[in-house]
């Protein structure tokens, strides 16, 4: 949204001022600067939180970013070829003297930071040997605050250093241009000083001490990197004349005067550099920083450094003195040794009343590793409001009148006091509700507190999180605005909140239904969402909500349609068939899917008989069909023209308001023509459905981010379609219903494979909202319907109806040799320790008994599983082990919910169904620290391996059951996924394996070989059944299904059905049951 010029200037001014001050000082400043202007406050808060996350992300010029991206693609392969026992996982960045990679030492199976020095040592073998020798010497330092060097060597002329991989931020990042608190500063400084002292005593000078060479771990431990490297690199470079004239090794801003002059240096040079780091920690900046390197060096040699206390008046005098001494121009004026420096720092620690010892992580001192925004939100605040009111009541009998008056006053004071006491007591609860992200409740309670304690500080601090601001403008203005909170039963009242333009209405954070009404204009309805953005590393408070609505005269907007303004549009869904940006005209779109009743009108009007409605040439199996021939294909069950499931040109009773399905693209297009409308282009459809919104985290739905409770907002995974006006809280930003789920919808654009279908259907899982399928024009199904659009202008500029060519390449998958795979298989061995299994919950229905079981999973951690036991079948039972699809892993559904929705039929036909609650599912969170594990990394591998152990412990448990036939266990894996492909390869207990819509995904190429399914699938010994949809939109048949099928060994069988990702049950269950009968034997009913 565009702020006005004045507004933006105001935002700028406060933002700049806030940025210039330490984080601690900001809240008070913002409070004062923004006063009552809550919108201003929100916007600035939001931008500041974004600034903290953004971390100068555009600092390198575009040409460099682009070139590095090109280079990086090729580099990894080259390094992997040169350094065989290291495997590059990812680039960590460019360090002082070379590039640093996160790599795995494949011999020792540990993570290392691999630094490739950017120096050539190709010519002189003696120099090479010396380099390695000296580097080893420097690396012999063993100290908790010095990063351990594992190996130094060279391969093909490339010197490399493999060192301990320390997770954390560099001190430079921790400082981030702002002063540290004194306790953080001392905690870090003492550790670094101790490391330097130990090195100096061993005769090693660092020569390149700077804040980016010091890593601070999340636990507050400091690690100094690159001891002695500067010297080695300088010498090596001199020897090979690689340094260009005038270039100085090291980092100018941290150099000592003697270093800057190019003189010999000793440990006192490190003391100076350490002084620079101290200066930076206190003031947020380095003492000498001029426009050019030359000028900086000049300043270091000749200029006095700026006064510490002038830059940060809070700095203790003693600290300023320590820094002044360290930064003395003459080495002999500095501390004679780091020991002396440590003594001074300790003195300061005592003075500041802090307990600390060098070398250790001091208790109770937390280094600010967590990004500030997150800290502000999550930290518990010790300070609570204390109400210190104690009304003195002195009553004397001899002054009755006065006494009565006093009593009244006292009573009033008492009530007031009680109110304040009550309000103060609610504050912790507000904080608790906020932590639990129950923002409606937190906000309501906070507002009650505010009525009594208007400037309660905790409430003020929480307000940007639990509250939100809403501005609504409409063109024309003067429209009434209503809000209705989202709730499970949808019965929250609709409340009028004002008239447009509505500025900065304070509301609770959360989701709402918004209505804008003005007499004479078409009312506008939509959902709005204020959910916080969780970055994985921190939370960004989204900007305040702003709605700009263009109201259109009621008589211009066709009935049951919504107005969508035009403009440029680009597809935003994860899987996008095209990146093209196209121009859209203003248009109207049906708010509802075309219903059976609507379609009946078309038939009644002779729609199938009037050739004029059928404007698009028919093509079937690549061949054109004449209209007369084509029309013979389009008939209902009785042979009359109409949708495939209808009889006698009529729909089933009670289905008038259900979406019409079972129609081909041609019928949809003809209907649109009949109404004077069109099918929406993919661009129009998506604009109306999600208005360009897409998210890095989680799935985007028409109403915002997907959270649990999707069944209250859309029709996914149910028995059938629902009336077209279901789910008001699932409405899109333009007020369209059921764009996600219910009937999937035909779109206008043609592709070589047919036409697009968007939105997912009632039989699909939620994630199909983000995928666009393509089906032949003659395809029809009870899952596919449509809606229409109309141009709102006469302009003919709309560009969105173009043909879209989707050409998909199939990567070349080459499995590793058998001997390697055999080696890797050993990595999957695990301890069969005691399970300590117990049944913790039982539920019974007519058809089955459901047990929830707890047992010891991977790493001895308690894991959970669900077991469905069919009634009335002979024991021991065959069992099917389910590895669920993304509906469960993305937490749209709980595991038992998904099992019952998707696989009840399996249980009812006589086999037990079993599944383990894997980490990340609802009810079993992964620890927060692992959520940001990088795909393809060694941690990711470890995570996958641990997940597999959980699954296999589940099989161990099944084997202990008397009522289960341990020799008849099958696995079923709906949809794609790593575990489903690895599990039956490493696990020999399956007698049968079933996949539906499963394939190899291109991103498997990024995985370490020992977990890459490409290497393993040929080793799945059990017989395999694959069901795959010809039009699979998530794991396409040709690019993903086919490569998997080819790699699988015999015995295998494949059934290709004529639908999308999700097999129709009438195909799936008979096929699965027949397959299980064949591979495991029939089941016997009691």
């Amino acid at each position: 949204m565009k702020p006005t010029a004045d507004r933006w200037q105001q935002i700028e001014a406060i933002y700049y001022a806030a940025l210039d001050m330490p984080a601690e000082a900001r809240p008070a400043f913002l409070q004062q600067a923004c006063a009552d202007d809550t919108e201003l406050r929100s916007e600035v808060d939001s931008l500041l939180s974004s600034h903290d996350q953004a971390n100068n992300f555009l600092d390198s010029p575009a040409l460099e970013v682009a070139a590095r991206e090109v280079a990086e693609g090729q580099r990894t392969t080259i390094i992997n070829a040169t350094l065989p026992h290291y495997r590059i996982i990812s680039a960590l960045g460019a360090g002082g003297m070379g590039r640093v990679y996160l790599a795995e030492d494949t011999r020792l199976r540990r993570k290392v930071a691999l630094k490739l020095l950017d120096i050539g040592l190709t010519t002189n073998p003696q120099l090479r040997a010396r380099f390695v020798r000296e580097a080893q010497l420097a690396s012999a330092l063993d100290h908790p605050n010095i990063c351990t060097v594992h190996e130094i060597g060279e391969a093909a002329g490339q010197p490399f250093i493999a060192m301990q991989y320390v997770e954390g931020q560099s001190l430079k990042q921790v400082i981030a241009g702002r002063p540290l608190t004194l306790d953080s500063l001392l905690a870090i400084a003492l550790q670094v000083a101790d490391a330097l002292s130990a090195a100096h005593e061993a005769g090693i000078v660092h020569r390149d001490i700077k804040s980016s060479n010091i890593i601070v771990t999340p636990r507050g431990q400091a690690k100094v990197l690159d001891f002695g490297l500067a010297k080695l690199v300088a010498e090596a470079s001199d020897a090979t004349e690689l340094t260009q004239t005038g270039a100085v090794m090291g980092t100018p801003a941290y150099m000592s005067p003697e270093q800057a002059r190019g003189e010999r240096v000793d440990h006192r040079s490190d003391i100076f550099s350490f002084g620079v780091v101290l200066f930076e920690m206190v003031t947020g900046r380095v003492p000498f920083k001029e426009k050019s390197q030359h000028e900086t060096l000049n300043a270091i040699i000749h200029q006095p450094h700026p006064s510490v206390r002038e830059l940060n008046s809070d700095a203790p005098l003693l600290l300023a003195e320590i820094i002044d001494r360290a930064l003395a121009k003459r080495p002999e004026d500095r501390h004679p040794s780091m020991r002396q420096m440590i003594a001074d720092l300790r003195q300061l620690t005592r003075q500041a009343g802090l307990q600390s010892q060098s070398g250790d992580v001091p208790d109770g001192i937390v280094v600010p590793y967590v990004p500030p925004q997150r800290r502000a939100f999550f930290s518990r605040f010790a300070s609570r409001l204390r109400v210190a009111l104690s009304p003195r009541q002195s009553m004397r009998l001899w002054l009755i009148v006065a006494a009565v008056a006093a009593l009244a006053v006292a009573l009033w004071a008492y009530i007031h006091f009680r109110n304040r006491q009550w309000a103060a007591a609610q504050v912790p609860r507000v904080e608790e509700l906020a932590q639990a992200q129950k923002f409606f409740e937190a906000y309501d309670l906070a507002m009650q507190v505010r009525r009594v304690l208007s400037d309660e500080p905790t409430v003020a601090r929480l307000m940007p999180t639990i509250g939100n601001l809403l501005s609504v403008n409409s063109d024309p203005t003067g429209a009434q605005v209503f809000l209705k909170r989202f709730s499970p039963d949808g019965d929250a009242p609709r409340q009028p909140v004002g008239t447009t333009p509505l500025r900065n209405l304070q509301i609770a954070r959360g989701d709402y239904l918004l209505t804008i009404e003005k007499p004479g204009f078409a009312p506008l309805e939509r959902t709005i969402s204020g959910a916080l953005w969780n970055e994985g590393t921190g939370i960004i408070i989204p900007p305040p909500l702003r709605v700009e609505a263009k109201l259109v005269e009621a008589d211009r907007v066709p009935e049951r349609m919504a107005f969508v303004p035009g403009g440029d549009y680009r597809i935003a869904a994860w899987r996008r068939p095209t990146d093209a940006r196209v121009r859209l005209n203003d248009f109207y779109i049906d708010r509802f899917e075309v219903s059976n009743q609507d379609f009946k009108d078309f038939i009644n009007a002779g729609g199938y008989l009037k050739k004029a409605y059928w404007k698009y040439p028919f093509v079937k199996d690549g061949k054109p069909l004449a209209w007369e021939v084509a029309m013979r294909e389009l008939h209902d069950r009785t042979g009359l023209p109409g949708p495939r499931e209808w009889m006698n040109q009529g729909f089933a009773e009670g289905q008038a308001q259900y979406p019409v399905t079972g129609i081909t693209w041609y019928e949809a297009a003809a209907y649109a023509e009949f109404r004077g409308k069109r099918l929406p282009t993919l661009f129009q459809w998506e604009k109306a459905a999600r208005d360009g919104v897409s998210s890095f985290v989680g799935q985007t739905m028409p109403w915002g981010l997907l959270e649990t409770g999707v069944d209250l907002r859309a029709n996914f995974k149910r028995e059938g379609a629902m009336p077209v006006n279901s789910f008001e809280f699932g409405m899109s930003p333009y007020g369209c219903y059921n764009m996600a789920g219910n009937a999937a919808e035909w779109c206008a654009n043609e592709t070589p494979q047919g036409y697009f279908v968007a939105g997912g259907s009632w039989e699909d899982p939620t994630y199909l909202f983000g995928y666009y399928g393509t089906y032949p024009g003659f395809y029809n199904s009870n899952k596919i319907g449509f809606r229409c659009v109309m141009s709102a202008t006469n302009a003919a500029e709309d560009q969105s109806a173009m043909r879209i060519d989707i050409t998909r390449e199939v990567p070349l998958y080459t499995p590793a040799g058998d001997d390697k795979v055999k080696e890797w298989m050993k990595l999957y061995d695990y301890q069969r320790s005691p399970l300590d299994a117990e049944i913790v919950e039982v539920a019974e229905t007519e058809a089955w008994r459901r047990e929830k079981i707890a047992f010891n999973g991977a790493g001895g951690e308690r894991a959970m599983a669900y077991l469905y036991l069919p009634k009335n079948f002979q024991r021991p039972l065959q069992v099917v082990h389910l590895l669920p699809a993304a509906d469960v892993s993305t937490r749209a559904r709980s595991l038992p919910e998904s099992m019952e929705i998707n696989f009840a039929s399996l249980v009812k036909s006589g086999r037990a169904l079993f599944a383990v609650v894997q980490k990340g599912f609802i009810g079993r969170d992964r620890p927060a620290s692992t959520t940001a594990v990088q795909y393809g990394s060694a941690e990711y591998r470890d995570q996958v391996m641990a997940d597999l152990i959980d699954l296999r412990r589940g099989l161990d448990y099944l084997e202990t059951r008397q009522d289960i036939d341990r020799s008849r266990i099958a696995m079923i894996g709906p949809s794609g996924g790593l575990l489903k492909l690895l599990m039956p390869a490493v696990e020999t207990r399956y007698r049968s394996v079933i996949y539906t819509g499963t394939g190899l995904r291109k991103d498997y190429l990024q995985l370490l070989p020992e977990i890459n399914p490409v290497n393993f699938v040929a080793h799945i010994r059990a017989p395999k059944l694959l069901l795959h949809g010809r039009y699979d939109e998530a794991d396409p048949l040709m690019t993903q299904g086919e490569p998997l099928f080819r790699l699988l060994g015999e015995p295998k069988r494949r059934i290709i059905y004529d639908a999308g990702h999700i097999p129709p049950p009438e195909t799936m269950f008979p096929a699965i049951n027949a397959w299980l009968d064949e591979t495991m034997g029939a089941v016997i009913r009691n």
Binding site: E12, L58, A67, D579
Partner: protein, 190 residues
């Protein structure tokens, strides 16, 4: 490789700045050539990775494309502006094509397993950045130009100040806010 002289390049840039689209066809291969040349140098470790010299490399590449020294002083500002625009145009277009080539027509192909990882690509997502920058220009033209000059044009704070006739301190502040705003915008709609 091209054989165009700096002077010819300057002429082409001027022509493009005046709306001559055919100049683009001649300039684009030059930028691509620099891009790949730079990539090769990053790759072959020719550069002693020293930040200073890595910067020098990029500067050198920019210099070869844009002949700063030989532009008459009065035109410098205008000239920088045009070149930054050109770099933006070509690099965004390159990113668009490279992506669609790399992914075989599917612009973004991400499995749910990988969804958490995409965020690291956001800086390199020139296409999205280009969009966001266009939105920024709608209410703060100058900040969008700061970003265009700094990021796409490779100009320093001081040079950017010279072009826009504002102080370096102002450039710095605007640069910071522009980045915060853009980051949020990119986060909002990828």
């Amino acid at each position: 490789m091209t054989t165009l002289s700096p002077k010819e390049i300057t002429q082409l840039l001027k022509a493009w700045g005046n709306g001559d689209q055919s100049a683009l066809a001649q300039l684009t291969p030059l930028v691509h050539a620099e891009l790949h040349r730079l990539a090769r140098r990053y790759l072959s470790r020719e550069s002693p990775g020293h930040t200073l010299q890595a910067t020098a490399l990029v500067n050198e590449a920019y210099m070869r494309l844009i002949d700063w020294q030989h532009v008459e002083w009065q035109n410098r500002a205008h000239f920088f502006g045009v070149s930054a625009q050109l770099m933006r145009h070509i690099l965004v277009d390159y990113a668009r094509r490279r992506r669609s080539h790399k992914r075989g027509g599917e612009a973004i192909e991400v499995s749910l397993e990988q969804a958490a990882v995409i965020s690291s690509e956001r800086a390199a997502d020139f296409v999205a950045l280009d969009d966001a920058l266009t939105s920024l220009a709608q209410f703060d033209e100058r900040k969008s130009r700061v970003v265009e000059l700094r990021f796409f044009g490779g100009l320093s704070i001081e040079e950017t100040g010279e072009v826009l006739k504002i102080s370096p301190a102002t450039v710095k502040r605007e640069w910071s806010l522009a980045q915060a705003w853009l980051y949020r915008e990119l986060r909002k709609s990828a």
